[in-house]
């Protein structure tokens, strides 16, 4: 292990600075670099402006070992990254036959002929190593300059990602050996950031010098990230594991997973392990729970489907909720949400069911039921329980919080029954 390698990220595109596009590339690249032991010093977004690009390349190159550039490689006139890199490295554009064949192949599959504008995509600076783009027409570029590595890739995430994983990271690892940086994230549910901070204050104080703790709150979830830095990766991992075991004793009921675990994945695994099936009946969450569950490949093995019942009529007709129950209690009530859960469980012939009914907002409040009032039910083979949430007045956040809470209720039920 040698000195600590440092990278900087440059995202190029006017769209980033007028707020039309959210920069998802930087965090994705940062994660991959960190996992390879490369520290990211900063990430900067700048416009498609030659002078600004040149100046930023100069600054980043004078400071860090690796400069990763994304964006501005499209075939259209607003994209000037390639020409600017040529100027920066005092090189010139040359036609690359292999890159051109890739452009041709992509167009052939789509049934189009290569146009002049796309032919220019195959031109690259003479001084670079081209990076094959299997998902698009613009090749990436690898430059070595005074011991520094500059990499330029398209801004389209889909194209950039495979170039970074398949080519850039492996090639960087050949160049550099780095100090290990290990991150472990503990996922908690139930209790806000400051509440959690007080409960675990002593534990936090006991973390050693080379460890850092960060609180990362989301609607309904607080993630705790431990970062440790040192020469021996194996020892760092052991240290972290030890601290996590201590933490699990302090907040056993709050921790539901680690790192990139998602509730939908955890639930899927629990259902597969128990050999049980699931259906859902959604009112206020409007399909959000179904979408989360079906985002997991292979979910059709345990998930039979959902009824999004956005009207009382559908709740009665498809889910078998009794007319009188709706009259007596209103749709947003314990009795109705339980009948929805039991109804869909029976109709879809599953072992478990989730149901939601609430006022997502911003409109729809009624006497005694403010916006955010939400009922969630979990039907299991021999039981059906319901819980009331009082959420806020933001439609999107309410839908997200209700969906996460519902999945977590199911998770706890499954663990209770089968673990």
């Amino acid at each position: 292990m040698s000195k600590k390698i440092q990278a900087e990220l440059i995202s190029i595109g006017d769209e980033l600075l007028i707020g039309q596009v959210i920069n998802t590339n930087s965090s994705w690249i940062a994660e991959k670099l960190n996992a390879s032991g490369i520290k990211v010093y900063q990430a900067i977004s700048i416009s498609d402006n030659k002078e600004h690009i040149l100046q930023t390349l100069e600054e980043c190159g004078s400071r860090s070992d690796i400069i990763i550039i994304t964006g501005g490689l499209g075939p259209t006139k607003d994209d000037i990254t390639k020409e600017t890199l040529c100027e920066f490295f005092n090189s010139k554009l040359i036609f690359n036959q292999k890159a051109y064949e890739n452009v041709e192949e992509i167009f052939r599959v789509r049934g189009f002929k290569v146009s002049e504008i796309n032919r220019r995509q195959a031109e690259i600076p003479e001084c670079c190593i081209p990076i094959f783009n299997k998902n698009g027409t613009a090749p990436g570029m690898w430059f070595e300059n005074n011991g520094k590595i500059f990499v330029s890739m398209p801004g389209v995430p889909f194209e950039m990602k495979s170039m970074l994983e398949d080519f850039v990271i492996p090639k960087l690892l050949v160049h550099f050996k780095t100090n290990a940086i290990i991150h472990k994230t503990i996922l908690t549910q139930g209790g806000g950031e400051s509440h959690l901070a007080e409960i675990i204050a002593d534990w936090e104080d006991s973390l050693s010098e080379n460890m850092k703790l960060a609180y990362l709150p989301q609607p309904g979830i607080v993630r705790l990230r431990i970062s440790a830095n040192g020469e021996n990766e194996g020892e760092l991992k052991k240290e972290i594991e030890l601290k996590i075991k201590e933490l699990q004793k302090i907040i056993p009921d709050k921790i539901f997973g680690f790192d990139n675990d998602t509730l939908e994945e955890i639930i899927g695994n629990l259902l597969i392990k128990a050999g049980k099936s699931l259906s859902t009946a959604e009112s206020c969450t409007g399909g959000a729970i179904a979408k989360m569950i079906t985002s997991i490949s292979g979910s059709s093995n345990y998930y039979m489907g959902s009824v999004v019942a956005y009207s009382n009529d559908i709740k009665e007709k498809i889910l078998g909720v009794k007319h009188q129950t709706l009259i007596d209690n209103g749709a947003v009530s314990e009795d109705v949400v339980k009948e929805m859960a039991i109804g869909v469980k029976n109709k879809f012939n599953t072992d478990f069911a989730i149901a939601t009914s609430g006022i997502a907002g911003p409109g729809g409040a009624v006497e005694g039921k403010p916006v955010g009032t939400t009922w969630i039910a979990i039907a299991s083979p021999n039981d059906c329980v319901a819980k009331k949430l009082l959420l806020g007045d933001h439609r999107g956040r309410n839908i997200q919080k209700a969906s996460l809470t519902a999945l977590n209720m199911l998770r706890k039920t499954l663990i209770l029954l089968y673990s």
Copy 2:
């Protein structure tokens, strides 16, 4: 109108540089500033490191008129922005009674007592104007220094957003008068970036000096953004409108909306105008279409609900797809997707219905039906049409493309029938 005002954005947080959190604040703030005629020069993400924060404040402050800082204001130990700002402005922390009352009130509503760690949230640098945080405990801070404005706000988007809209932007507009920057985005569907670029090349060349065009591709959609800069806002708007009218003559069938229009909103408005109702039957999209439609407040007026039919059994039992049709054609077929659409339309008693059936991937390919094969049907009062898509092998992208294409098919059907 006076000189052009320039802003820079600083996002503080280790989580941004190890890739744990996607920076959504920068694009949101950039959009709001641009709309107010304030140009964003760059957006930078840095870690919770005092020296790096101080150096970045120095650099940004020496260059731009407005520095907007987010993040690092939480109650926990990793957050050091407030202390660092104190050092930068050579100020000291003082207890602010009004900020404390806000902390107390937030805790009262949640049924907790204020802890010592949260009491410190009410301390702010003596030299700043506090910014009220109606959604959280950390107040924002407004600094004026040598004619430059520095604003610090929490990194939690929900808290930051209302502070920026209610306080920061109005106060900035009092300080500065700026050249107008107008953006107009044209939303197109059907045809990739370079295909579009060729068709509209002459039109693009005809744009005047003060106008810039950018291509912003997404799965299934290409957005074209025109930016115009000048002294007279009214004239700029007229110029842009003229160019858009020209473009509509060149690609009349591809343009489906403008700026922040979404297909789900456009469809909702078309259904309301026509007084018609909608239901959906989703297989491969797994609730994604329902989620999009119900993200619109008031969608319960025209949307009755969905059946997410993730098994053949449910397709038969709930949607009434014939057993023989499934046997003869398989679930991913024109006949099945049409029976799904007609089935849900009848069962939910709606005027229109959307149905999807496909292989979202990455697994599930069968002979003659590669991953990405997707059928979409639109049932209207007197007709049912279906269309086959050949998508890629990325599950998330396939679901998104299929959902957007389905909504756009419905949009075209509604326009054909009722416009």
